[in-house]
Symmetry: C2
Subunit: 303 residues, 2 copies
């Protein structure tokens, strides 16, 4: 396989669009699939080929990145009406990139294998800027054959590929653990900066101290800045963490593990979503806590 290959990217959201552009830059022909007309037009302008359904995009394709938002969408674009699998050539490699319950990943991978396809469990992280730069992190598991087939495409989209095992499901499990921490840390950053504001501290000064102290986290440094600046432009949205922390708590419940911090964080993301903040940056959970405490953080209007 060389960069003369044709790859499909199903779902041109912030991560999928970045992956598609990275593949184009690496010399792949890229078939982009999305339901949004304006996104397809933009993608065509970048040199990609645009398709409204997965089935139409499959001819000539040897690698398919599934970059939809959740498990339900993944099942639809793979197995639903005008889905990819029925139209794909046998042996096509499918990379499953959404954060999904590990059991769902295993089930979908099984159906793909039954249909004669190769499959890599390949959830990603890193955010949209890293995706655009071809520097995503991939937490992958699957057969050595699948890894070998995927290599040129992974080289194009990722700065780092963790090889986490020979079976689909392991990648999804590690991604779930990452999301557990990420979600709790976002909520903790919101809790800490809201208490700081309530105590009359200068939140920008607190941010500068904590980010070089033992209280720091990747998320505090990244999302704490959003809270300090009052800028909730969505890079990753509240509703993403409603989904991902829901996966954590559901999976943990199924195996009898205690995840009370995750449950607490999930409740906060849900409350933010119910308050109409679901599509804002996930750091917007700070506004829920600020309202409860009767204070205003930067960027919050008078109510």
């Amino acid at each position: 396989m060389s960069n003369n290959s044709t790859a499909a990217v199903i779902g041109l959201g912030s991560m999928g669009y970045g992956a598609a552009l990275s593949l184009l830059r690496a010399g792949f022909s890229v078939h982009g699939v999305d339901v949004r007309e304006e996104v397809l037009t933009r993608f065509s302008g970048e040199g990609g080929k645009a398709f409204a359904t997965p089935a139409e995009a499959m001819p000539g394709v040897t690698i398919v990145f599934v970059f939809v938002v959740n498990a339900a969408q993944a099942e639809t674009v793979l197995f639903g009406e005008r889905g990819a699998v029925a139209a794909a050539a046998p042996g096509t490699l499918f990379l499953l990139c959404p954060t999904m319950p590990p059991s769902t990943t295993v089930a979908i991978a099984g159906r793909l294998a039954d249909a004669g396809m190769q499959v890599l469990d390949a959830p990603v992280s890193g955010g949209s800027a890293k995706a655009m730069a071809g520097e995503m992190t991939v937490m992958a598991s699957g057969s050595p054959d699948a890894f070998a087939l995927a290599k040129p495409a992974l080289d194009a989209v990722a700065a780092k590929v963790f090889r986490l095992g020979d079976r689909p499901g392991e990648g999804s499990k590690v991604k779930m653990i990452n999301q557990l921490l990420a979600g709790v840390h976002i909520a903790a950053a919101a809790e800490a900066l809201t208490l700081a504001a309530r105590e009359g501290l200068d939140v920008a000064q607190v941010y500068d101290v904590i980010r070089v102290s033992a209280g720091n986290s990747w998320m505090f440094e990244n999302r704490g800045k959003h809270i300090v600046d009052g800028d909730y432009t969505p890079h990753s949205a509240v509703d993403i963490f409603v989904k991902d922390m829901g996966i954590v708590t559901s999976e943990a419940g199924g195996v009898g593990a205690s995840v009370l911090l995750s449950e607490t964080a999930l409740a906060l993301f849900k409350e933010a979503s119910a308050a109409g903040l679901g599509r804002m940056d996930d750091a917007a959970v700070a506004m829920v806590l600020a309202r409860r405490a009767g204070i205003r953080l930067p960027g919050m209007e008078e109510e």
Copy 2:
């Protein structure tokens, strides 16, 4: 003031002992105070002068580091029987280093000022290794005069001094915010690695992935390693976070701020303490979660 000055360090625990040695290295004469005979003997061997009570240690001293564990001990060593204040020369500078409720810091600072003393609110972080190296972080607030008096001593013990305001209390507030995050992140690391183990993942591999991913935190990187290695040698103890998270939840309750993650983490630290793990490394909260989930983490014996 020069390094010919005499400083006292009250409380030669892991942080205080490191500060005392750092002051000796910088040329200070150092009066060390502790209730433990063996610690005093060791300190004398390092070139310090050892005293069993604060009052005895005061003659000739111009700077006093208070390095006891909590607010009650601080009040005792300052104002109790054979305490420091009654025996100190007027104008002596007291650095209040324990993590205390901000309101308590303000009250103690007020009593010190009433007694004619200078005072700096100066909680520290960084752990015992940094303390021994003279590289603590200090989150300080107080008058410009107090900062000027403290400078040579702070230069000796700290790599970084945050100057957080002109009044005692501000330093304690910022330290409290740091502890909120540190405590939640330790509990989150325990929750994440326990779920990973329950899911059959290799916790060492998960650790290696997360520490370079968006789920990382300073505490995950530091304490997660203890969990992976099954090494709960106390660097900071469970009971320290019972105290510090208690300060967070109590203070937040007093001002009407919602800190549900902190409350959840506090409950976990309390449960670990009640299970007899109070003097172990704070990462030992993972063992509580592992028992609940019916699994064994590295270092846990069969039960």
